[in-house]
Subunit: 320 residues, 4 copies
C-alpha cells in the first residue's frame, strides 16, 4: 500500500482551515460532476513520510470520453456499442485522443529527487513552489526502515535486500543529521529562520535563490500539476511499474486510486490492457506459439537474450 | 463583428433537443464555477454561414490562476497585491505557467480549409468527426458578398478590394455549383445519400475513406477542441490579428467573447498587454527615443526597412 | 510494395536540376555521417501516383542513441553490453529519450486528405506550401484500380473488396472529371492559370486564400516535415499498421525503408519489438497460459469479446 | 562575461582523449555544414566553476530556414527578398515554424538547482546522467565572491548588494563544508568511494537511487540536451534576460555565443527584434504617443502601475 496513515499532521492549522473552507463550498454547474471524486476533493492523501497528493480540480468523466469518440466516429458507434465497450475498444486500439479530453489537477508535496524524475513527463502543466522567492519548509524525506534497500548486486538499477540493524540505523542517522545540519546553515546564510524571524539583526542575508543550493535532495517541495487523462495513464503505467523507484511508485499508486473514483470504466480497461497486460516481441511470440503447439523451445534457439527468456517465462508462469 | 445572427438553423431537431437536455442539468460541485460562462454552456454561437463554436466544458477561472501562481510564490508573495495586480504582473513578465492551469473545451463546426490552419496549433487536444467512418454533411462555406475579396496586388498574403457585380456573382455561382456537383458525385460513389438511403440497390459503394477525397475544401467538418488558457490566448493573439485570414479571425473573435465571460480579469490584461500592445525592435526603439527627444529621424538612417518604418509610424499614429 | 516505379516524371526540370546540384555538394564535417543514407539524400522516392518523400537532412545515427543513453548510465553501464544489446534494451523497456536524440527532415508531397491525417502527429515540425500565398499545382491523387476498395460491410473503418469493371471505371471517371473541373474554376476565380499567365486582362481575381476552397481533397500539397526518431517510430507503428488507410501506409512504408539505411540497428529492434510484436491484455495472457498448460479455454469464459478472441487466435496462428 | 577562463581542468584525461578523437574525425556529407561551428564542435566551453556546454551535433543553418520558408511561401518570396530580409520578416511576424527546422544538441554540465530551472523548458529532448545507476562526481558549485549577492530588500526575486568580508567568507565556508560533508556521507552510505573502490569489505551499501538524496542542490549533474532553434531562442530570451538568475544566465549567454557561429543572420535578427526590443502595452503606447506629441503624461493618469511607469521611462532613457 502506497499511502500511509496520517500518523502525523500533514498540514498546519491555517492550511487545514483553507481546505475545509474550499470543501464547504457548493456550486451549481451544468458540467458533468463525479460524486465519488467530489467526496475527496481538496483532501490530502498521505504519501511517504511528509508528502501528499490532493485533487484540486478536474474536467470530464468516462462519459466525456465516449462523447468525444462519438464526434469522431459519428452515428456509427452510437447504436452498436455500449460505453464500456467503446472505451475498451479505444484503449485496445490505442485511439488515445478521446482520453485527452479529460483533465485533472493535483497539488503534490514530494521530495526534490522524486520531483526531478516526475518532471520528465513533459506533457503536463506545472507550478512549483519557488525557492527563489520563498524559504523552503524544514521537511525531509527519511525512508521507513523497510524501504532502506541495499544496492542490488545483479542489477544496476534495482534494489537488493533491506539493510538491517546497525547498518540501517547508521544510514538513518546520517540522513537525519545531514538534513538538519544543512537546513540550519541554510537559515544561517539567509539570516532568517523558517518561521520568518531574523537570526542576527543588521546582517545581510544571502539571496534565497543562492542559499537553497545548500539543501539536500530529500528536501520536500510542492507543486500544482495538471495533466490530461491519456498522459496521466502513461505516467501511471511507467511509474506504478515494479521497475520504478519505490518512492515515485508510491505517488503513482495514490494517483491510480483517485482514478478509480474519477473514471472507473477507463481505469478498469487500463488495468486489463496495460497494467495486467504484456508486450510480446516477435521472437517471444514465436516461443509462445511453439509452447502452445507442445514444442519445447530453448532459449538458445529463440533469439531471446537470457534476461528476456527469464522474463517471458515469468510472465507465462513457468520456471525458466 | 465575427458572429452572425442565426438567421437559419444551425442544428437539426435531434441536436437541439440534446443541447436542451444538457442545459437542463444542474449538478453540484465543490469546484469553482463561473456563472457567466455557465449561462452560455453548450449553446452554439454562430460563426460564418453554417459554422459555430460552443463551450462544452471548462476548468478553473481567474482565481485558479492566482492560486497556482501562489504555490510558485508561497509565503513570498506580497499579500497586498490583489488578484488583478498579480494577473497583470504574470501577463507582463511572461510567466505563462499559471495560465496553463485553466482549461476549456469547445465543439467547433468549421470549413476544412480553415480547420487546416487551426490544427497547426499543436498544444491542444482534438477529436474530429471522421469521414473514414461516417458520411459528411452536405454543407459548404459560401462567403458573404462583402467578404469576397480580390487578391491584393501589393501583398501576396492579403486581400484587396471586394469583388463587385458580375465578378462577384460569378464566383458565388461557381463555388455553389462545384460544391453541389462534387457532393452529388460523392454520394454516387458511396451509393448512399446523406440521409443514409441507398441510391442503387445491390451496387457496392466506394469506401468512405476514399470517396471523401472528391469533396472540396469548403466542406464543413466539426471537432471537439480542448486547450489550456495560455495556449488559447496565443491562438487568439495570432488568429484574431488583422493579418489572419478573415474566416479564422471570425472564430478567434467568437472565442475571445467567451473568454470575457470566463476569465474577465485575464482577458482585460491580455487586451492591454497583447492585443493593444506592440513589440518594438531595438532599431524602432531608437527611433522612438529620438522622436521623444524632438529629433527628426529618417527611415534611411533608422535601420528599419521601408515597410517597418511605415508600420512604426502607423503604430505611433503619425504619417509615414 | 508502397513505392511505385517512377514511370512518370515527379519533378520538372528546374526541380531536378536543383536536386542534382544539392547532391553534387561534398562538405566536410566532424559530425557523424551515414553513407547509406547520404546515397539517397535529396532524391525523391515515389509514393502513390504523384507523391514522394525525400530525405533532406538528418542528425545522428545508431551510435548517437548509445552515446546519449550512456550519459544516462555513465560509469554504471556494463561496458560489455554491445551497442545492439543496449539499443534492444532501451526499446524493450520503453526508455524512449535516447531515440529522441536523432532527427530527420523529409520533403513530402501528398494528397490533402492524407495530409490531414498525418498532421495529427503533433510532435513534429512542419512547413507546408501555402495556398494563401501561392497557386497550387494541378495534380490530384487518382487511386490505382487495385486500390479502389468498396466500403466494408462488416467494419465501418475498413475496406471491402475491390470495385470491378464498370463500377470502378465510373468512380475513376468521376474523380478525374471533378478534379479537372474544380481546378479549372479555381483558375477562373483567380483569373490566373497555374503557369502564371492571366486569363482575362483587367479583371480582378479572387484572393488565393479564398479560391483554394474550391479544390477537392485529393489535390496534392507538399511540406517539409521534421521529426525525432522516437516520434517517427511511433508514427510508423501507427501508420504502417494494417488498420491504417492504404494511402498513408504507402508513405509510412517508404519512410521505414529510409530508416533501414539510417539506423539499421534501431530499425531491427523496432521490427522485433513493435512491428512483429503484440500487446496482450491481462485476460488474453490468462488464455495463453491456459493453452500452454494444455487446457481448452473458451471465448465465453475468457472475458474477451468475440472480436478480441478472434484477433488473439489469429496472433497465435490458431483457428478461432 | 558568462564564461570563465578554464583555469582548472574541466575534464579528466580519458574524457579529453575521447573529445580529441571525435574532433579528429573528418566525414563527408551532402548536408549543409557550418565551418565556424565545426571549429568548436565537441569542445567544452567553461561556464561557472566546474560546468560547461559543448555542441555535440547540429542540423541546418540560416539557409535551411530560408529553404523551409520558401516551401511555405512558394515562388512568391524567391525573387523579391534576400535571405536576410526573409529571416527578418519571419522573426518580426512571429512566423516561427521555419526556425524549428534547425536543431542543435549540447552536452551540458551544470548544478542541480540550475538543472531544475532549465528542465522547465519542455520542448526539448534530454538524457541526464542517472544517479540511480551511477555514482555522481564529487563536484559542487561554489559561487565566485563577486556573485555572492544578498537578498534584495525591495524585490523578492532579485539580488541585492554583494556580501563582503567576513559575511562572504562565512557563506563560502558553509557551502564548501556542507557539500564535502554530505558527499563523504553519500560515499559512506554507498560503501563506495567515487573512484569506485569499496570502503568496507563485506558491508552492504545503500541503493544508489536512495543515497543520492543526501547530496546538496549545488552538486553538478550533466545531460545531453537537444532543441530546435525556435525553442532555443525562446530559452535564451527568457534565460539571458537580466531578470533571470545569474547562474542560468551564464549558460544562456554561452549558448548565445555558439548561435552567432551557427546561424549568424538569425542571431542578428533575434538580437534586434527580441534582445534589444521591448513589448509595450496599450497603455504604455498611449504614453509614448503623448510624449512624442510633446505632452507631459503622468503616471497617475497613464493607467500604468508605478513599477510599469519606471520600467517604461528606463526603456525610453528618461528619468522616471
Amino acid at each position: 500500500m502506497a499511502t500511509q496513515a496520517p500518523s502525523r499532521r500533514l498540514l498546519n492549522e491555517a492550511q487545514e482551515a483553507e481546505i475545509q473552507e474550499a470543501r464547504g463550498v457548493e456550486n451549481r454547474t451544468r458540467r458533468v460532476s463525479v460524486p465519488a471524486l467530489e467526496e475527496i476533493l481538496y483532501e490530502p492523501i498521505p504519501v511517504l513520510d511528509h508528502g501528499f497528493i490532493r485533487v484540486v480540480d478536474y474536467m470530464g468523466d468516462d462519459s466525456a470520453i465516449v462523447q468525444s469518440a462519438r464526434v469522431s466516429y459519428g452515428k456509427g458507434t452510437k447504436q452498436t456499442r455500449g460505453d464500456a465497450g467503446l472505451i475498451n475498444y479505444l484503449m485496445r486500439h490505442r485511439h488515445t485522443t478521446p482520453f485527452e479530453m479529460c483533465e485533472i489537477k493535483f497539488h503534490v508535496k514530494l521530495p526534490i529527487f522524486i520531483a526531478r524524475q516526475w518532471i520528465r513527463h513533459r506533457t503536463a502543466n506545472v507550478n512549483e513552489y519557488s525557492a527563489r522567492y520563498s524559504v523552503l519548509d524544514k521537511e525531509f524525506y527519511i525512508p521507513a526502515p523497510e524501504h532502506l534497500a541495499a544496492q542490488s548486486t545483479t542489477n544496476r538499477q534495482g534494489r537488493g535486500d533491506v539493510l538491517q540493524g546497525a547498518d540501517a540505523a547508521r544510514v538513518l542517522d546520517l540522513l537525519r543529521e545531514d538534513a538538519a545540519h544543512c537546513y540550519e546553515n541554510y537559515e544561517q546564510m539567509l539570516n532568517e529562520r523558517h518561521d520568518g524571524s531574523t537570526i542576527e539583526e543588521g546582517r545581510a542575508g544571502l539571496a534565497r535563490e543562492l542559499a537553497r543550493m545548500n539543501l539536500p535532495l530529500n528536501t520536500y517541495t510542492q507543486w500544482y500539476w495538471k495533466c490530461d487523462l491519456h498522459n496521466l495513464l502513461h505516467f501511471v503505467s511507467l511509474r506504478a511499474d515494479p521497475h520504478a523507484q519505490y518512492e515515485i511508485r508510491a505517488y503513482a499508486e495514490a494517483i491510480l486510486e483517485t482514478l478509480k473514483r474519477w473514471v472507473p470504466v477507463t481505469t478498469a480497461a487500463f488495468t486489463n490492457y496495460v497494467v495486467e497486460g504484456t508486450q510480446l516481441s516477435g521472437a517471444a511470440l514465436r516461443v509462445v506459439r511453439g509452447l502452445i503447439a507442445g514444442e519445447t523451445p530453448s532459449q538458445e534457439d529463440s533469439g531471446l537474450s537470457k534476461r528476456e527468456w527469464e522474463e517471458l517465462m515469468a510472465v507465462l508462469d513457468r520456471k525458466a
